[in-house]
Assembly symmetry: C2
Homo-oligomer: 685 residues x 2
Amino acid sequence: MVPAVSADCSSTSFTPLVVLELASDTKQEAIAWLLSRIRDPHQNGGIELLVEQLGLGDGGSEKENPNLFLVGAKWQRLLSGAEEVGLFKEFSDGSMRGFTCANKHNFKHFEGDGDSFLSMAECQYIIKHELDTLRAKDETHVPGHPQAKLYPGKSIIRRLLSKGVLIQVFPLHEKEELKRLSYSWYQKIKLSFQPLDDIRRYYGEGQALYFGFLEYFTFALVPMALIGVPYYLFDWENYDKYVVFAVFNLVWCTVILELWKRFSTSLAYSWGTLSRKKAFEEPRPGFHGVLGFNPVTGREEPLYSNTKRQLCVYLVSLPFVLLCLYLSLYVMMIYFLMEGWALSVHDEEPTFWTRVLLFIPSIIYAVVIEIMNLVYRYAAEFLTEWENHRLESSYQNQLILKVLVFNFFNCFASLFYIAFAMQDMALLRQSLATLLITSQILNQIMEAFLPYWLQRRRNKKMMRKVQKRKAVAEAELPLAEQVRLEADMSTYLGTFDDYLELFLLFGYVSLFSCVYPLAAVLVVLNNITEVYSDAFKMCRVFKRPFSEPAANIGVWQLAFEAMSVIAVVTNCSLIGMSPQVKAYFPESETQLILWTVAIEHGLLAFKFILSFIIPDVPKHIQIKLSRLEFESLEALKKKWILYLVWAGPPLPTGQSRKLHGGPPCARGPAQRASAAVRSSPRTPR
Amino acid sequence: MVPAVSADCSSTSFTPLVVLELASDTKQEAIAWLLSRIRDPHQNGGIELLVEQLGLGDGGSEKENPNLFLVGAKWQRLLSGAEEVGLFKEFSDGSMRGFTCANKHNFKHFEGDGDSFLSMAECQYIIKHELDTLRAKDETHVPGHPQAKLYPGKSIIRRLLSKGVLIQVFPLHEKEELKRLSYSWYQKIKLSFQPLDDIRRYYGEGQALYFGFLEYFTFALVPMALIGVPYYLFDWENYDKYVVFAVFNLVWCTVILELWKRFSTSLAYSWGTLSRKKAFEEPRPGFHGVLGFNPVTGREEPLYSNTKRQLCVYLVSLPFVLLCLYLSLYVMMIYFLMEGWALSVHDEEPTFWTRVLLFIPSIIYAVVIEIMNLVYRYAAEFLTEWENHRLESSYQNQLILKVLVFNFFNCFASLFYIAFAMQDMALLRQSLATLLITSQILNQIMEAFLPYWLQRRRNKKMMRKVQKRKAVAEAELPLAEQVRLEADMSTYLGTFDDYLELFLLFGYVSLFSCVYPLAAVLVVLNNITEVYSDAFKMCRVFKRPFSEPAANIGVWQLAFEAMSVIAVVTNCSLIGMSPQVKAYFPESETQLILWTVAIEHGLLAFKFILSFIIPDVPKHIQIKLSRLEFESLEALKKKWILYLVWAGPPLPTGQSRKLHGGPPCARGPAQRASAAVRSSPRTPR
């Protein structure tokens, strides 16, 4: 039933693209059923992919999971899949268009059979899409696994995943390509931009946009860092001279976000994700409910009451978040107690050690903040999972909202309190510096070194095992070992944590860097190491992720913009509190506050007007998009006129010929098509 | 050449829909050319409409313009036109879908030939669209009119309009329908909603949305008016007790705008304009430039440098607007001088007459404001015309922006000054009342009675003429006379002024009604008369306008939302200034201001969050829209699968058959279509 396992995997007749790992206790009948469903032609409800079991390798130990399957496809199948998923590719005239098989020879880089037309990441994305759309026919459960219930139209892969029969689905790395990419990305020490196009080709648009944003953000910080250094060097004690810096901050954070929108649109256009339509979103794997009929699709699928979910959100999640915020406030108060105690010790008998002691509370607080963020993160994931969102996108939005609010509060509450309630700029500077440096160090350790170290240990174990078995020193691992090695690698969990880190750094810089101008310098340095460590992680530590088509950074753009609004308010308040400005209003504090508020309102209004005036899409891309739209409108019209011209002999339904050459409305689609066929040889193209 | 003029127009073989009025000195060859272009079949570049000259009537005087033409079309032509313009109609399952001739029998109310399927307004819209797309072929100018230059692809109607050869294009009224509509709309005295669906059927979606908004706005004001009356009656002198009212105001203006969005979406969905795609926008008739190639369409057409236009906007229009604002400020200062003088006269020797005198400056100022608004309006139109915008939409946006800024400033500057600089609530109340009442009275006179009176005079003259000629007292005018009468009616210039008036009223209510609670009552009364006078105007005073498909109130939604943000700020400040609130902070004014600002920021943030949380599209419509989208995606997929199943015998290009039943990518569109034809008889539907 299951095809014979070929010991040497180089004998597979196709390029393996994606690996399916089934649990080792999966029943043979379930495997046979799944493989035949994957291989079945379309008319039988299959998806026509190629699939083979991976060999155990020479003398494979019985501890290894034998149920690893390699999935691939013929080139023609991939091309038609590319049309189905709505892939955009470069056309011969340089514009980006939706790929169609009928038109394939008019696309750039389409040569011969087109077997090098799609990148491997695109092929893997197509395979994943096809696997996701493999649906149950009339099976009531997975053969041999009665607990894995099915109903007509249910995605089989999602059910297998949610029941733990399918452990993971992941795309394979390309060793040559990866070597080339990692060389140009992080191994070559040079001053140049990141190879965004190569990153996109290997990891997809979502990843490339993150690295593009990271790079953009770093470059945007450079002027700030350059201004910050002399400020820090020559005005260290005059921290009240920060008005100029605050004004700069204010303009800066508005402008860079607007420009990023334009830059990201350019990237998305050149990668063909800008005009791409979103596919219909399936329920996420963990979603459960009572079987019913979906009002949109009319299919039988689990339904879950929206009211029930809203109740969960407002009666459980919201109070929980508020409780966490209260807890965070409580911890902050303990920090201030410690701070006060350290200060009193220092004041009693100032020595070098008491000066060091002054920094200790901040450092402890910074570590506690990181730990609280981490713990809260898990709680938020659990809660959001429990809210049982139907779509992955709404799950993500709810999770991001929860995490953002808490992290913002947790990281910045103490700074706001010091700045506005205590109005102690010296403490603010010290606290900011300690928080920033501590959290950066912790992050780098948690994010890069720890996973790398774990991975190294795993790799070494694997290498030893292989060498023991083979007893020859081979540079290249055989495919089977490579697949097993990759299956053991950590899974990359998406760009969420990376963006969150950038968001908090953006907050530190835009909110308070006027009191501690070195913040921008620190963040620039952190970002540079972040580029390298993230690149390293992606290439060496993690399994290859499936590429995610993305046209922008999504909800993060909104988060950064919200932060920039808060930055305007904060910076205006800091300016209003500065001794320099206070000197202008010697008598009346009321006047000062009123002016500050008025200017702040003016700036906010100006910010909104600016975001209206600056178009999100650069002119030249706007023209290209309008041209495509215009062409498709014209094509529709032409089709219609052509149809009128070649309408052919009168039809039995007499009334439709009343008008000379008029549109034969009464015809069905079949006649319409036949008219089109008759006309096509004579049509001037 | 020109077809014989039939004296009695009842002999036209088609229902006349649209009238073209050419200048009386138009050359005969131009007329003959235009008519033949309109009548020509599609393959010759014509638009296949029916057109006939209107008779002069019995004993028509030589003073009358003979060049009036009636345009109509066969039913099949209109149906195919409906498909071309992308009209949405109700489908048999109750959803709204784009009309297609192939599918016509599945639409609701499609009976027999479908000759009552389209409303007259829809037919007229289709005719107008067809006329607009009538393009020059290789003519270099209009025959007989060498000054009216043409180039291939130029819209003929637009050129004729801009050169004054074509005086006007307007749709005809339906007398029966109009009688029925006007009865249910304004003649029947009753407490009921306006017949929005009938209005939409007769005047189109743009008009109906305006009346819908007017009605919605009036109802939304009712609770405010109900609260306002007891406030006014029992607290007249305690105008400092307005905190509750200000808070109510604040919540009210946010909520009603959010709810309106949902309501208008429901309306637009039920009228089929919500999902309708915008057609490609042609240059506006008055646009001029140097002939060049449009980068979007590739057509030869006039181009005008964007930089040049930007320079015009920023170097001429902007300074002009600022100058006007300065002038308005100057007039305001004169008003305050007058006010001060009147007050001093009253204080010297208070009598009844000096008390009346106190109101005189406000009344004069209100009249001056209205005059300035009117004059500025013309200036703004002239300037925007001179800026030479390519698209009607950008012309409209620029004009609305200019007019809104000035009107807002002109109407509210004095009130803001009184409220915040003078902090004189008694004067604010008096000034607000006078401004509001005077401007309402002036508006009603200018808008309804004046045009009505002019129209009556014209009507009477016409009736006399007709009766003189016919010498019989006929109740019904013959078609020819009716057309001439309508051609003489005033042209309705769109909803701009109506929305502007509502915008200013919304401003009066939301900004300051807490100090003068009767404002809401006055606005409700004004709106009720406005409904009747607007309805009357539309039915009796103006030519029928072409229907404008609209999915929302467009840029006005933005304007009202901006006003509601300003209202939050204003109301918070008014609350902060109230003696009641001041009593809570007896010592420190600074504390009071800081609290006010903090609460105001919180409210603004809450407002933005609210506008995110409340979905713009009601759930049940969201489901219907998703269903349509899902169905179209499924249809595409099905087409593709069907195509795979019935792919037929192997093709010469061998490589495309490598895959069993795979998609034959190598085939051209012709074979593809032929496969579809072969499959169609066997396809289960």
